[in-house]
Symmetry: C3
Subunit: 247 residues, 3 copies
Amino acid sequence: MLKATIDAEIFRESIDAIAALVTECRLHTEEDMLVTRAVDTANVAMVSLELKSTAFDAYSATAGELGLDIAKMKNILGMMGRGDALTLNLLDEERKLELAFKGYKYSITLLDASTIRKDPSPPTIELPGKAVISGSALNNAIKAAAVISDKIALGIDPDAMTFYMEAEGDTDHIKLALGEDELVALNPVGARSLFSLDYLKDMGKVMAKADEVEVNLGVDHPVKFAFDIADGNGRVEYLLAPRIEAD
Amino acid sequence: MLKATIDAEIFRESIDAIAALVTECRLHTEEDMLVTRAVDTANVAMVSLELKSTAFDAYSATAGELGLDIAKMKNILGMMGRGDALTLNLLDEERKLELAFKGYKYSITLLDASTIRKDPSPPTIELPGKAVISGSALNNAIKAAAVISDKIALGIDPDAMTFYMEAEGDTDHIKLALGEDELVALNPVGARSLFSLDYLKDMGKVMAKADEVEVNLGVDHPVKFAFDIADGNGRVEYLLAPRIEAD
Amino acid sequence: MLKATIDAEIFRESIDAIAALVTECRLHTEEDMLVTRAVDTANVAMVSLELKSTAFDAYSATAGELGLDIAKMKNILGMMGRGDALTLNLLDEERKLELAFKGYKYSITLLDASTIRKDPSPPTIELPGKAVISGSALNNAIKAAAVISDKIALGIDPDAMTFYMEAEGDTDHIKLALGEDELVALNPVGARSLFSLDYLKDMGKVMAKADEVEVNLGVDHPVKFAFDIADGNGRVEYLLAPRIEAD
């Protein structure tokens, strides 16, 4: 059971964060929040999202699982304006989700959750390096690297006390090094791993809206990005596997 | 004979209304107005347009018929700015139309009117249901329905006192019901017909600019949309044939 | 040797002016300016650009030649914002150019200048007709002509005291005639030549930003456009060969 009302813009922001990685997912309704965790088809990236009941104007739910066509949701939410109140309501023995806003009633047949990949287990990895940076600066760096390469190295240099991003093209090279002045916070543990820009570009567009993104890094380990949504009433985490650095 | 001056923006608005349905038409010059009536190539939709001499800064014409390449006119008018004065002038024994604005003189060879489909007769149909709605709300509803289907039902529910639009996708459903509070006017006679969204999307873009659109409906009958252009000095009517509702 | 700092927007403007015609060029560093002169692959158009040391916040250079991939530079500069300070620095015995802005360091391997076409000699042609016009008016006229044709005639009518542009389509014709009131200056010597709009459209986009463009014309001769960049601390000249006017 789910019946909830929320600013359409906030719900769209949540769906967009998921849509950066997957086209469908299992959305779990819990008594005090909506939760999803999904892995992309290539098993390279994972998104976790929590949207607390406090993000909603009204929220009432029991434990359940909804199979969501994220791509379709993104289309429908694209038509709503900021400030529109959106009401979500499970119908027909939980087989349909109704989205109501203004005079509109959208009724969407849910996917059979059993046909969607199982939720991944939360990985247990140690990522000792940490930098906190504005989402727009992070997204700009990703876009800058994408001009000359399809891979980017993210790292922390404890001697220089910098968080850096570095990309290597056939003939060109770009490096962005940010010191403590330009970072919100830095945990200066040596770290460096290489990542595919394909994934980062999609994540970057979502992260660009976040005031602060926590970046967790290790040596040849995944990177974890974590940031708030819904004015602090929700949280998104992206986990991205590293690529092998070729010589 | 035609020699007339008009705000380029107003003339563009008129040409755009025609261009939503046809790429060429017969434009009739009359002593006190320009008039056109044209049917699309599939015989599904009709546009009628009247632009009164009062819409012009200067207007002088005798009865005549011009074969207009509407698509080309749309291109040329696209370059003019709001507030530019546009002068129309028939040249060369009425075989060329000159468009002058600022220092520019565009001379367009007219189409041979005899090669363009004859004007359709004005249809005589009874459409007892009527709702008056803002053009932008109407266009938004058309776009919302287009996300999930290629057909939309428009209707009036006299019991609920609502004008409604409803679309059915393979697995999804959308309904927008507007009560008297959200309408400019409603004539609550039961009506419902199904229409192709292909046509409505093009009409919707034009109607979006109108403050009020009068929608006339019957049961499995065409729909007629009527709205003012040129600050009330012109009027456009669209007529669209219904589609058969499949079971 | 080159080490210089400049507003990123001004440098981008200079690169864009070159990029309208060529994808690579030889950039000459001189003690008091940067200079380039390049011809397009079809030998139809030439660009000359001077950017004086006064356009820079800091400038220090010795005579030298850099092989620049203009298309790549345009991409990289596209990411910088107005007001960002950009530092140019030759590295590695002049084989790499480093672009630094904010925390970023872009290092670009220069092209081997010997693989780039030799600089063209400055042509010695007499173009007695001259009109000075705003860049945006010039660009608008080019776009208007492009709607109906792929060629445009530029000319000066000394009797009417006008600078004019004229294009002929299969069935249509456009003429823009600008009198002394609408021009910054006019040297009324009879002139008329025909040009390809393909080239002019690309030049037009660059010239649109110039307050004044000096247009020099002859009879069936090339046209020369000259305009300031960098707040008067730089100058661009475009030279475009005429096409034969077919009867």
